[in-house]
């Protein structure tokens, strides 16, 4: 495990392994997302109160939890970069910010749209919604901070500190619905029985979408990280070879 992580911290290893992994990841993600979305959109029974509107939850819930997971990942990479000076960790952290930002935006948008008919409002300043909005601003702030630096290392360090300062917000998002009165409902406790609340016929498709979207999240992170490797390691011999091969294909097209 440690050995594997150690190898992944080498840009060349990461580039090769992620390249080999990609087709499998794409296939698995398409499969899981396809099944989960069709199942959730067309085959699960409507909710007894919200009718068909609750189908938004199939994307809202996984988008929100992956956005939070993405923030944790960015913070862990930030710590690894600060402590061990692992360049790979900074590249992954850089990839996390825009992906996490779009997933948070997705969670906020789908929640708002769901809230209009359900709550009677698209936005309120309760603890859950406010802390989620703060997470989106943190992602945007990290991106802005990095673009303000010319030096790759200095920018990476500044972003790492900001990421670590903001990481407290994630458990606040998670437990806001328990610690305070909020308009947002708490986490659903899933039931294995079909005669109780949250039966498997409703949550099983959500599991498919959840893992599918997680696969997509990994793909998005890997794509950005690979680009970053090609740019930052362009002086390395092996990147020269990779670029040469890619350029030869491009030339052939032109």
């Amino acid at each position: 495990m440690w050995q594997w992580l150690y190898k992944l911290s080498s840009p060349k290893w990461f580039y090769t392994i992620s390249g080999q992994l990609m087709p499998w990841l794409v296939a698995l993600t398409t499969f899981l997302l396809g099944i989960g979305l069709i199942w959730g959109l067309a085959f699960t029974p409507p909710d007894y109160q919200m009718g068909e509107n609750y189908r938004i939850a199939y994307i809202h819930v996984p988008a929100a939890s992956i956005a939070m997971g993405c923030y944790y990942m960015m913070a862990i990479m930030a710590a690894a970069f600060l402590i061990w000076r692992i360049k790979m960790a900074d590249m992954v952290a850089k990839a996390c910010a825009p992906v996490g930002m779009t997933f948070t935006a997705l969670a906020l948008f789908t929640g708002s749209v769901w809230g209009i008919p359900t709550w009677g409002t698209w936005w309120i300043w309760d603890a859950r919604l406010t802390s989620t909005l703060i997470m989106m601003f943190l992602f945007i702030g990290v991106m802005a901070l990095r673009s303000a630096y010319d030096s790759e290392t200095a920018g990476g360090k500044a972003c790492a500190v900001l990421s670590l300062v903001g990481v407290v917000n994630v458990p606040i998002i998670k437990y806001s619905v328990e610690w305070w009165n909020t308009l947002h409902q708490g986490a659903s406790s899933l039931s294995l029985s079909n005669t109780a609340a949250n039966p498997p016929e409703i949550w099983v498709p959500a599991i498919f979408v959840g893992f599918g979207l997680f696969g997509f999240y990994l793909i998005a992170i890997i794509l950005r990280t690979r680009n970053e490797i090609l740019i930052r390691e362009r002086k390395a011999d092996w990147v020269g070879e990779v670029l040469g091969a890619a350029l030869a294909i491009n030339k052939g097209k032109a």
């Binding site: 409507p46 007894y48 109160q49 009677g120 300062v165 009165n181 308009l183 409902q185 609340a197």
Partner: protein, 147 residues
């Protein structure tokens, strides 16, 4: 482990722990203010100063709802947390999920007659997703007052 590495690890720990403590203290100080609404019990205990605008949250007491004929006319109901009831009066359009036995959050003030005059009504959804069949099965086993 090398000494500078240990030092950097301590700095990272300090950043995370420091910001966690700082934000924890802020949240602790704001604790009441972060609550989105007061429960009827808190209102009965006098947690809210008179004449102030605030939100109450509870359940629409079953059997207490009286609505006008037309949509957008006067609505009256009791908001309850099973211990205390507060009469609420509202004129306007209600959200889809507003119904008896369901969670509700109302924004407004308590008038001189002790009636909560709401300017906005929001429905609070619970964390349960159910199909019509499972509801029938649940209802057969008996419902409870649990806001």
């Amino acid at each position: 482990m090398a000494a500078p590495r240990k030092q950097r690890m301590a700095i990272v720990g300090f950043i995370v722990a420091g910001s966690a403590i700082a934000i924890g203290l802020v949240l602790f100080a704001l604790n009441e203010g972060i609550n989105f609404f007061y429960t009827p019990t808190e209102v009965a205990q006098g947690a809210v100063p008179d004449g102030q605008n605030f939100r109450i949250g509870g359940m629409v007491k079953t059997g207490s709802l009286r609505t006008g004929e037309l949509e957008g006319t006067l609505v009256e109901f009791l908001a309850t947390d099973c211990a205390q009831d507060i009469p609420v009066s509202f004129t306007g359009v209600l959200p889809d999920l507003f119904r008896e036995g369901q969670g509700v959050v109302a924004d407004g003030y308590i008038d001189s007659n002790g009636i909560f005059q709401a300017s906005q009504i929001l429905a609070k959804h619970d964390e349960n997703y159910m199909s019509a069949e499972s509801v029938a099965a649940m209802e057969a086993s008996g419902a409870s007052c649990d806001p």
